[in-house]
Amino acid sequence: MAKVLMKGNEAIGAAAIKAGCKYFFGYPITPQNELPEFMSRELPKVDGCFVQAESEVAAINMVYGAAGAGVRVMTSSSSPGIALKQEGISYIAGAELPCVIVNIVRGGPGLGGIQPAQSDYYQATRGGGNGDYRHVVYAPATIQETVDLVMESFDVADQYRIPVMVIGDGMIGQMMEPVEFNEPKRRELPSKEWATDGTKGEREPNIINSLFIDPEELEVHVNERLEKKHAIITEKEVRFESYNVEDADVVCVAYGTTSRIVKNAIAKCEEEGLKVGLIRPITLWPFPDKAFEAITDKTKGILTVEMSTGQMIDDVKIAMNGRKPVYFHGRTGGMIPNPDDIVAEIKKIVGGEK
């Protein structure tokens, strides 16, 4: 299929529809508005349904209902709106339902700003909802990768009965890039015999639920169902990009569009004879701990670069487990890191100034 030039937010919508998503429930918030607008325009054409909910809270609960009814369903929002959705995300995770949530991150805290940011890493990977739950988080760096991951997200959600979040900063939502739509690799997907579609008098009622009033039952639910599933996902679904990590002087860690800026900084360093590696987590959860095993003793330090005051760095430190010093460079509030500043930080680590 020929490549088409598309804005990130609209490409996400097109990818979702190609993946068989016919239901979308959302609420307006900048910088993701083109996505619900696209869905309101396109879903009626495929006999689907778009509803603009009265709130983010209602939107995620409509997703909860639709997911329970057994269909592919999506919602999207941006940071403060995702904060409101956390209640529903916890219920969806607790009830083990599949859905896809798109988060086009903007600066915070509070109303913050509307420019690109990565200050919701904690929100995405630790969750603002209550309880022992996890959900998959994909962090694409290009519109093409966004499209690929959105399409695959629906399969992953169905395979594991788990919410999947695709997180992009405002640039991913607003930028235009050429994309093509390719089928993801085929997965064995279980049938949805648990869905609420009416018993027709032919089976026992299906119940979608996250309540286990008996503490022993709840512990079994969390440990035997959720945690076992999380372990399998951690084993099988980790994804990352790795570049020149072995024997690098410095290894940078960055995700999303920040990784593209870091790649420019690395190219500049290479011109000066420095060997700088990059680990780019594509799944923020599960975090690619194993990518860090390739770092050798020759490396002087790790530089984590984020559009935040330092959130992913916690996971980098956990993965490094004290083997090497981990440094941080970041801009926040919607400001974007500059390759020259990143080069200067790398040189400080190489020169022992840090």
């Binding site: 509803v51 209602a58 609960n61 909860y64 209902g65 009814a69 369903v73």
Partner: protein, 248 residues
């Protein structure tokens, strides 16, 4: 011997957890009987609330979905939009619907969602131990209004049926009570109409059912029924607020 009464197929065999004298059991039965009589049990998806009827998903003999506190109308919206040919209802109390879930119920009505809501109003938070609700009457004592509710501090009790009947999409709105046999019969009629409205695709329907909470009101079951009649009926008048012509 002739069988004069049998348990409805609309309910499972699970034993209710409700307190003695609580009228949730009656209301559950009425909903179950209506679903059975309309022959839609196999097509129905119910949405359970948070509150005393949180375990409703174990009691209704149809597919069920447990919602977060107040969110049942949003969950029901998601289900009905996906499965427009199925019957979808929510069963909610007054803390759930009239307090934390006001946005969800108002906008489900506003969109004219083709769902049915059974709204059980007992003027108090039961499950959490008797706190004041938006529906608690003036002067009524609750654990968070220990000196009795006052208008100055908490406003006047919220009249949900009156409020929702101002919304175009709410095509069937009726308030009923289950404090005696005659009213229980009327309540069942209203519940049946509300589901018929959904089956005809007319729009949103709600039946507000005045109910008792002897435990948290600090009364015997009989005293509770009398208190409902003497105190709730004057403030929450029974009757139909809206009916589409076709089901009149």
């Amino acid at each position: 011997m002739a069988l004069v009464f049998d348990r409805t197929k609309g309910l499972t065999d699970k034993i209710f957890h409700y307190c003695p004298g609580c009228t949730h059991g009656i209301i559950h039965r009425l909903v179950g009987e209506v679903l059975e009589e309309l022959d839609v049990l196999g097509d129905t998806i119910g949405v359970a609330p948070v509150g005393c009827s949180v375990f409703a998903y174990d009691y209704f003999n149809c597919d069920m979905h447990e919602a977060a506190h107040g969110r049942a109308p949003a969950v029901a919206t998601g289900i009905k939009r996906v499965r427009p040919d199925n019957v979808v209802f929510t069963y909610q109390g007054d803390g759930d619907l009239a307090s934390i879930g006001t946005a969800e119920i108002v906008h489900a009505a506003h969109r004219g969602e083709k769902i049915t809501t059974i709204f059980v109003n007992n003027a108090i938070y039961g499950m959490t131990g008797g706190q004041m609700a938006p529906t608690t009457l003036i002067g009524q004592k609750a654990t968070t209004s220990p000196y009795g509710r006052t208008k100055e501090h908490s406003g006047m009790p919220l009249k949900v049926s009156e409020m929702l009947s101002t919304i175009d999409g709410a095509v069937f709105v009726e308030r009923v009570s289950v404090h005696n046999a005659a009213n229980i019969r009327k309540a069942k009629k209203a519940i049946k109409k509300a589901f018929e409205v959904q089956l005809k695709g007319e729009g949103f329907g709600i039946v507000e059912v005045l109910s008792t909470c002897p435990t948290n009101w600090g009364m015997t079951p009989v005293e509770g029924l009398k208190w409902l009649e003497e105190n709730m009926l004057p403030y929450y008048p029974l009757g139909n607020f809206r009916t589409p012509q076709e089901v009149e």
